[in-house]
């Protein structure tokens, strides 16, 4: 049971004279040569005897966007929750900047941004109130956070709806609030769990460019998505998960070469698909057309 008192990393609070980025940049230079920013070591998670994540190990370095792929129920979201500390692994550990996150979960969370799969926000708050609440809980300085929040809401096209109750938001609007919430404290590590779900085309494109830009500025990004085209374009490396186990882990180019396929979609199909999609589609169409 860990205390909430700050132990290892310097507190990035309202009382800290400088903005968090400066502190993290200094650390980055020192430790970038030696540690990956995020390392999952032999993560296993069992729910009531069923293994959902099975001995998963990988690293995410600074400046890298790692794609995390897998069919529904393959354990992607559970891995994401383990990495964020929301779920305890049955075995295995998560290391951040060379240190076990369980040694200082609070310090880790200060530098983590997470966009969950489900757009769950307090329905009775407005976007601004929700973001303000999260900013206050993160002990961010009020005035700069307010300015940042306003700017981000504007840039994500949410300025007009920012004072409206979240209960009236569409899925895409909720998703935008989650993305802003994950970026508000300028984290070093970003975990996106299907962030483009519900987003319109423009925002999806903005998001892709944003992820690319953030990585170029030294952030480490773990990007889970079902949109293979986006993953192919964005990610420097790809991890493919199937039934809780990693079945492939390499660069997109390398995977394509190794498996002699032209696209990531074909690689993915060969690795995890157990049915022929074309045949399944034909079967579905037949059932739809059937009478009686």
């Amino acid at each position: 049971m860990s205390s909430m008192v700050e132990r290892n990393w310097p507190p990035l609070t309202a009382s800290t004279p400088s903005w968090p980025r400066q502190a993290s940049c200094v650390r980055m230079k020192v430790s970038a040569m030696t540690h990956p920013l995020l390392e999952a070591r032999h993560l296993t998670k069992r729910f009531h005897g069923i293994t959902v994540v099975d001995d998963v190990s990988f690293v995410v370095n600074r400046g890298e966007v790692v794609g995390y792929l897998g069919p529904n129920g393959s354990g992607k979201t559970t891995t994401g929750r383990i990495l964020t500390g929301l779920v305890e692994p049955s075995s295995g550990s998560v290391f951040f900047d060379g240190r076990n996150v369980s040694d200082d979960p609070i310090g880790y969370r200060r530098r983590l941004g997470y966009v969950p799969e489900e757009p769950t926000l307090y329905p009775f708050l407005s976007a601004r109130e929700q973001l303000r609440l999260l900013g206050q809980l993160r002990e961010l300085p009020a005035a700069p956070t307010e300015r940042k929040m306003t700017a981000l809401l504007e840039l994500f096209g949410m300025a007009d709806a920012a004072e409206q109750s979240i209960s009236a938001y569409s899925k895409g609007m909720r998703q935008k609030v989650l993305i802003i919430a994950a970026l508000l404290h300028d984290p070093d590590l970003l975990i996106f769990d299907e962030p483009d779900s519900g987003l319109d085309v423009t925002t999806s494109l903005v998001l892709r460019h944003l992820v690319h830009t953030l990585a170029a500025r030294g952030k480490a990004v773990l990007y889970s998505s079902h949109v293979l085209e986006a993953v192919e374009k964005l990610c420097t490396r790809v991890i493919v998960l199937h039934r809780g186990r990693i079945v492939a882990q390499d660069t997109v180019q390398q995977l394509r070469t190794l498996m002699s396929h032209e696209s990531l979609e074909d690689v993915f199909a060969e690795l995890v698909l157990e049915t022929n999609p074309e045949q399944t589609a034909r079967d579905i169409a037949d059932v739809v057309a059937s009478r009686g």
Partner: protein
Amino acid sequence: MGDRLLTRHFLQRFLENDLLSPEADGHDAIAMVWGGLLTLGLFLSVVMSLKFVFMPFQSPGRTALLAIDDRLTFIAIGMIVMALVAVITWDGLSLDPRDTAILGPLPIERGVIVRAKLRAVGLLASGFALAISSLSSLFHPVLMVAKLPIGLLPAFALILIHLTVTLAAALFAFASVVAIREVLRALLGVRFIRISAGVQALLIVALVTSFLLLPVILSRAGRFERRDASMLPPVWFVGLHEALAGGIVAGLPRGALPVSIARQEDRDAKRYRDIAVSIRPLASWAVTALTASLAIASLAFFWNSRRLPLPLAGNRAARYRGPGLFTRVVTLTVARRPATRAGFFFTLQCMFRSGPHRVVMAGCIAASIAVSTVFLMTGSGSPPGDVWSVPVYVFSTQTIALVLLLAGFSHVMRLPADLRASRLFRLACVGDPSRFLAGVRRGAFVGIVLPTILLLLLPHVYLVGTRLALMHALSGCLLGSALISLRTLRMRQLPFVASYAPAGDLNTVGPAVLIGGLIAVSIFSRIERFAMADVGSAAVFWAILAAVIVSPLAARRNMLLDLPTAFDVPATGATRLDLG
């Protein structure tokens, strides 16, 4: 066939009421409410009929006179309960964007959907009205005339008239709430969504207050000869009953009575005739009111349903103009640290905006208003010279109001605002949770204690004079603060975000807590009155209260919350399944 299916679908939707039981089985809640209403009807019938059953010489005039008060009680309770049912199902009273999303793409005409919805609302109202009226209609008239020489047909007529009138009154109350809602919707359009929750909360407060103040209201309404009595809707329906039943009971043969009883019977019969004459004309008011409320509710409903409602995502809210005065004052004074600020504002937002939290608080506010009204109404109108001439219950008013409201707050703290959204909260909670908790305490003080004391200050100034009222207000502030401090002392879970931990069995603990609480309030009020005698004693009294506030806070400093337990209630023997 399709109509029936749709009607059943809409009836099913009433069960998905987050206000009653978030993420719980709605069938349980409905079964409990139905059972409760049936029991209430039966209980009231039996209790109110006892006087007829045990009357040694039952006479028609006296029976008719006493029955008027009983009917007033049945009708008033039925009306309040039915209005509350309508308010609780508020969002389900008309079609909503979710209905459009589900039914819009289907090849069903809009008119069919609208009619099915109206039918479902009608069935809901009729079902609840029957639950509250049926048993009282059966038992009360029968027990009332059981010892009188009445034929089968007149007895049956009494049952039928009682049922008709109580049903009509109940439907009037239900339709009035629907009419208020639908007319507001028609007038405000999409802006209705902004005030909807506020109006709903206001109606809950008004109705629960009326329910709790029913004995006071009925005692005034029962003076039928007074002109203001005829302004109360329940009296109109008593008038309707009189108009329909005529003198069925009063006209029965009186039989042989002792002289003194016969004399009393003459007086009662005359009084009954006077009342009957004065309230019978009100029958037309009742019929007009029922017709009007049904017509307005239906017309406004159809007017609002001329298009299926669309999601409100596209609507624009007012532009942000920076933090308001209240926010700035709070930020500079009571909640300067970010985590404290989070606790402060989140507390206020949960209490007054989240549906389940708001219902609990509205109920407690109503109870406080009812108790305060009763206590203050019995107070003297002129400022007394010294503290000893002030009745203890005047001192108790503020204390009992605070205790009721903080009991409600204590419950809402344990209700999660949204468990899934708590995940993000948990990830962002990187500060000391004790600071968040400090914000919650201050939020409760500013949101509950301060408004209560300020609202009661004026009547207290009128009752006990300015100096004593101010001293009493200061005591109230300290008491409120101390109660909040004590309540949060042993708290291991963060309020509003941890999973829900049910309290002990209310059936066994509740009465003991209620009696103990009343005794404690009475003792505290006596001590306070004693302390207010001079400034020195008052200072000692306040110092003790201040110590009660400070000592738990000091003790808390060494009890930092741990993250895992701050969000998850540890499994108890009853909840742990030990699976896997």
